[in-house]
Symmetry: C2
Subunit: 343 residues, 2 copies
DNA sequence: CTGAAAGCGCTTACAG
DNA sequence: CTGAAAGCGCTTACAG
């Protein structure tokens, strides 16, 4: 912590007032006394403000936190900040927090609940006011505990089955439906899905959206959800793809961007292209697709809203302007490319 | 900030000792008295530790910071955390900081010095102990000011011309030399470079490495450094490429990954492929290249070392275990693909 | 409208 | 080895 010599006391003595008044002025506090509210007189205020400005006064954050019991810091626990989807969110979260003069600290779980626990603990020890968390498999009890300890919490991207927990998620079922319908409209029938072997709400909902849409249009017989091992995408994906009979598959719907990237790498190697050999719709855009010979149809998630809302909501909880939990569901947008239309 | 009821005082009274002793015990402090050093007696220590553990005691971070004058927080200012190169670094920085029980806050400048100033100011106000900064164009005076204020600082990825400033950078000249030599060995002669119109040390050094290598092998006549506008890569790049006569160019050396991505997108559109129509070497790998028909030769930067060293160095400065500034230069590694060999 | 005073939870000389 | 006491720089009832 860097010494900022000037304190409220210095300003007080230089302005010839009490520290109390300096604090009131700088924080724009109104003091109550029975019925009447008082503000610092304009004259005094001006004098104080002048002195503070002249010395470039900055309040000491630690002192303020110690006294006021809040730190204006939020802990954000993501799956992996080096993953483009999450780093995009991180960027927006940063900006939003800065806007409110809040600070954020990031942590990554790599989808491991033990890491989630460690990161959350360390954030709490560091004195955060609230948490934004992307929960991972098996984190229900941990989440519950956080909520029960009264720590303001907003879940992001995925939710868990706990009452009273706020969350900002995508309408994954709806998004999956859009994807499947686009492929159907594009002339594909035998659509199969590539997903993860993880029990995450968003993944489950995407699978559900796929299955239900297929059944609704009478293609239930073609429904097939292939599960790739998250911890080992590359190898597991390669193995899976070599077992698929692409003469029996019209199109693939990828549950995440990482899966799509890995999958298309394998398709490439197998000499298969989209949309010629197989239709494709994926979750999230990726600059990688720009180097692909044809354009890819993808579901665009509202990154900025994810970030903005989760920060707004956690701050509302922290500052008690909102007490009850809220669940917000956002819509994906389908961005059409060539990969979803049979040539 | 979340209430952690238990304080040092509570533990003291429950263990029947003074707060001083609790603090000493918990922090493993040794007290001096003239010649002799004293530790808390084992018996007492055990009693205190037991009580603390039973109540799951966590020290109050704000109080500790206020008193000790340091926060165990580092501010890290990157160019853009949603850029893969920097988010990879961010991830490693996080882990390293966590290892030392330090906290880090991230900020992005978008290469704008005004933003750099804002972020640095806000970090200082928040009470960071030190800074890791990726400086941008025109940030010399700002950097100088930070150093003069005695704020521990380590520059990352790029350096500035100020004495006494620590930095962790790449041997960019050497890396560029490797790239050019690889292309030469691959059978390309007329090698041109695609770079930015920015005055950054790393960019300048890469250009220098390219120019010098070309001259050294007697190809000075072919030297050409094309500058793309950073704020407008896409359009500026398109414009540039449409003005190039590819029948007169054997190979392109891209100064950054973003440039390479943009450039290869345009090449794609022009119907040009590597290595058939033009040789290519780029900075940094990118999963995007996996979807490209041929593999790309790239210079791999030591991301983990960037992160680890910058954090280690700034902490050393903070904790005064190291007073003088250090400049560390790391080597890139050339990862060979098909794009650097003439077919 | 303004000020004196307490206190947030620690750390750290100082004294014994 | 251990403890009493001061103090870090704020905020906030309370009193006038």
């Amino acid at each position: 912590m860097i010494d900022r010599k000037i304190t409220i006391k210095d300003i007080a003595s230089e302005a010839g007032v009490s520290p109390t008044l300096v604090s009131f002025t700088l924080n724009n506090t109104i003091s109550f006394n029975g019925e009447r509210k008082y503000k610092v007189s304009e004259q005094t205020a001006k004098r104080i403000l002048d002195v503070a400005a002249r010395h470039n006064y900055k309040p000491n954050n630690a002192a303020r936190s110690l006294r006021s019991k809040h730190s204006r810091a939020i802990g954000v626990v993501l799956s992996d900040i080096s993953n483009k989807f999450f780093s995009d969110i991180a960027r927006q979260i940063e900006e939003r927090a800065y806007f409110y003069n809040y600070t954020v600290m990031f942590g990554s779980t790599d989808e491991k609940v033990e890491k989630l626990g460690k990161v959350v603990d360390s954030f709490i020890e560091k004195g955060i006011d609230g948490l934004v968390v992307v929960p991972c498999e098996g984190s229900e009890s941990l989440i519950k505990e956080v909520v029960e300890r009264g720590i303001p919490l907003v879940l992001l991207d995925r939710s868990v089955d706990e009452p009273g927990v706020s969350s900002v998620v995508l309408d994954n079922e709806g998004a999956a439906r859009m994807a499947v319908e686009k492929l159907l409209a594009g002339g594909f029938k035998r659509i199969e899905m590539i997903s993860y072997n993880m029990a995450l709400s968003n993944i489950a909902e995407r699978e559900q959206g796929y299955v239900q849409t297929m059944q609704r249009v009478g293609l239930g017989d073609y429904v097939k959800v292939h599960k790739v091992d998250y911890a080992n995408i590359e190898e597991s994906g390669k193995e899976l793809f070599s077992s698929l009979d692409f003469s029996q598959i019209d199109a693939l719907f990828f549950a995440t961007n990482s899966l799509a990237l890995a999958g298309m790498r394998v398709l490439n190697r197998l000499g298969l292209t989209t949309p010629n050999d197989v239709g494709v719709v994926v979750f999230d855009g990726n600059e990688a697709f720009d180097l692909y010979p044809s354009t890819i149809t993808y579901l665009k998630q509202p990154i900025e809203q994810f970030a903005t809302l989760s920060i707004d909501m956690v701050i509302a909880l922290v500052e008690k302007s909102c007490q009850e939990s809220r669940k917000v569901v956002l819509d994906a947008e389908l961005v059409e490319g060539e990969s979803s239309t049979h040539p």
